[in-house]
Symmetry: C2
Subunit: 437 residues, 2 copies
């Protein structure tokens, strides 16, 4: 029937009961005749426990050994899951990242996948076995040492295997029902998105939607892997991330064929509202407005290892010939960047440095805004009506982001969600044909 | 200087403090210029905890997956140890059994080592790093799956690596001071043996001395690997297991050269008294005393998967033409063997089957008994003086074993230990030259 890659996070395999529940779901797919590859994270908090152990023996453990230690976590969960599946009457074989052919560079703790050679996984499928693969880990092409992929690593393992195996769909199981039009903790009327494009999801993830990591979405977009983000606690459909129409199982029994028209239903203008309150803003005041100064400034920021997000440069006054530059960055990066800039004050010639973490970013995402002018105006009007002041603005083809005062952020999100008609009593804003259920 | 393989058991790395203590010892060997390969078991009770996890998800977990699960234990301890060593200023690299080149057959849970290709270990030593290797595990030559070596596996890993690397000595660290002339819990006057041959140690291990597993001693004898069994909680010398004289470090700083005479000091007649109360005895009564019956009986026992130890066949009476056969076996094997024999009662023609676990085995071991006749007589006299009745007897070239009533076993051990002059106030019975300290 279909080849399905499923990824279960730590909360989905937190204890024996959860492992058994996941095993039953996998068995139902096998029962329906599908080939199943499962990528699994370490159980619940076990990774944190291993990190605590490391801290107890060494203040600054070597990264090679930290990777060796942390990869024990998935080894445990994948073996337990294979055992539980075996009890359902279906064969299951677990594989480490190395055995599964997840080849990476040698950057311990944040390795990048450079190749996937899933020969043993394909072999297990050919033997009618479920293949269980440890997420988050691989093996270095050069040193043959065990590596970990860093944040978002397990999602990325699943997408990479799905791409290498030519899977019909990569299902990402989590503890929520899918991707929502806004964070339901902030916007009670937010609802699940049924279908969203890779590009929109990429913007959502970059803008702060936490359910999928940016890196996994990028990988899925590059190799055009259909994703299905859904809950491991229910049988409900979640969020499909793909272009076009699904032609893979949504449940073990229900196979979704491409629509005969072969065109997706009309997309809504706006998919969702994301927000992110984990950034801070640095303002460099009185920097000479001459060519090369901004370049010098941002080279120093980059050398400090920080990614910057939004940048605003004031129009300089002709009298002073100086300007102010503000930019946002992760609050974690603020201290090293601040130090580096302070050290370069004479070179850059600026007057003062200001920092605040009391900002929030709101992003409106929708592929439909490409063909619908006036979305920005509508956004600014909604914020104005809500009495929210805008500090910075940035846009892409399918996204508009604004920075507001942190205290006003949640109110702004609710106002924008409502202004764009995303509030819905049906619990289904973006209906994909008749598949939503 | 020397190449030393060290093996630390679970009790030696039970917690962070223990790991740090072990790391300091390893660092002292590196400081003295020795090359060090370390084989480590899983921390404390962590293997039992993993087995409990497996039991929680499956009543009968597949052996392949059980091996995958259990090998997570050493992965954790070896990575932590490498981190702790790294903090002492010496480089350390951890390796799984597979990475260390421990090649086994595919018998999960009780794999045998069939080859050791320690190329990466040699490479780490050449880079002046300490190599940390996960004990108890390897990789199947045919399936490339992870295997575990079963009981005594970590000791065997250490000996196998020492043999493959041509190590000067294999140090087995444990929670006791070495091999004793008898179990000190039974014989308070028992003391540490300084030097014992591989052959004698093999008999001691087979006869119930628990400090070293039979399998590791066999491997060491086959490849003539000098062993040093000692405590990880002290700097004292332990028990050397080798032929001839040591020419390797006993402590990081003390190097022991071969004696100029190149002959060992005169060996004592008796090395020690071992005992084993983990066996039971099956008696088959009234079996026809005709050729082939004993063979048929023991084929059934072997087919039930049991190893038998001692066998006694009574002289048959000419009137009945029947005899009784008794044999000892591990109490674990008693139920399956009893069932198999019961099922074959008609075929074998015996009258009844009796079983007791109320027996104990005492073994006297010493290479010197080869050249000293009369040891058996002295043993029987000692037991007789102590009022201990002998049920069965078996002998090898350097061992005499007797089966007694379980209740009399400990008294028998004390009496024999004393009768052969092993009680010692010096705490040093078998003094090897001047190395005991």
């Amino acid at each position: 029937m279909a080849l399905v890659v499923q990824k279960y996070g730590g909360s989905s395999v937190a204890d024996a009961a959860s492992v058994l529940r996941v095993a039953r779901r996998i068995a139902s797919y096998r029962q329906a005749g599908h080939e199943v590859v499962v990528v699994v994270s370490a159980m619940g908090d076990s990774t944190d426990e291993l990190i605590d152990l490391a801290a107890a023996v060494s203040p600054d453990p070597p990264v090679r050994e930290l990777d060796m230690l942390l990869t024990a976590g998935e080894r445990i969960s994948m073996a337990l899951l294979a055992m539980a599946i075996s009890d359902t009457g279906h064969e299951a074989r677990s594989f480490t990242g190395s055995q599964a052919g997840v080849i990476t560079d040698a950057e311990h703790g944040k390795a990048r996948i450079i190749d996937v050679t899933p020969g043993r996984i394909r072999g297990a499928l050919d033997d009618s076995a479920v293949a269980i693969v440890a997420g988050f880990q691989g093996v270095s092409q050069t040193t043959k040492d065990v590596t970990t992929l860093g944040r978002g690593g397990s999602d990325t393992t699943a997408v990479a295997l799905a791409a290498a195996l030519g899977a019909d769909v990569c299902e990402i199981y989590t503890d929520v029902d899918g991707v929502f039009t806004a964070d339901p903790r902030v916007v009670p009327s937010a609802h699940r998105i049924s279908l969203i494009s890779h590009e929109e999801m990429l913007e959502m993830a970059a803008a702060g939607a936490k359910v999928l990591h940016l890196r996994a979405v990028e990988y899925a977009r590059r190799y055009n892997v259909p994703l299905h983000v859904r809950s491991s606690f229910s049988e409900r459909m979640g969020t499909l991330i793909m272009e076009g129409s699904p032609s893979f199982p949504i449940s073990p029994q229900t196979f979704h064929r491409p629509r005969s028209e072969d065109t997706p239903v009309e997309q809504p203008i706006i998919s969702g509202v994301a927000h992110d309150s984990s950034q801070g803003k640095i303002t460099v005041t009185g920097i000479p407005d001459v060519p090369g100064k901004a370049a010098a400034l941002f080279k120093i920021v980059a050398d400090a290892g920080a990614d910057i997000d939004m940048i605003v440069q004031n129009v300089s006054t002709e009298i002073t010939g100086r300007t102010d530059i503000s930019f946002t960055l992760a609050t974690n990066d603020a201290v090293p960047v601040g130090r580096a800039l302070q050290a370069a004050q004479v070179e850059l010639g600026f007057q003062s440095l200001r920092y605040t973490d009391q900002i929030g970013k709101l992003s409106l995402i929708g592929a439909g805004m490409r063909s619908h002018p006036g979305v920005s105006a509508q956004l600014f009007a909604a914020l104005s009506d809500a009495g929210v002041n805008i500090q910075m603005i940035s846009t892409s083809e399918i996204r508009i982001s604004v920075v507001t005062d942190k205290e006003e952020l949640e109110r702004a999100v609710r106002a924008v969600h409502s202004a764009f008609g995303l509030d819905s009593s049906s619990g289904e804003a973006v209906v994909y044909g008749g598949t939503g259920r």
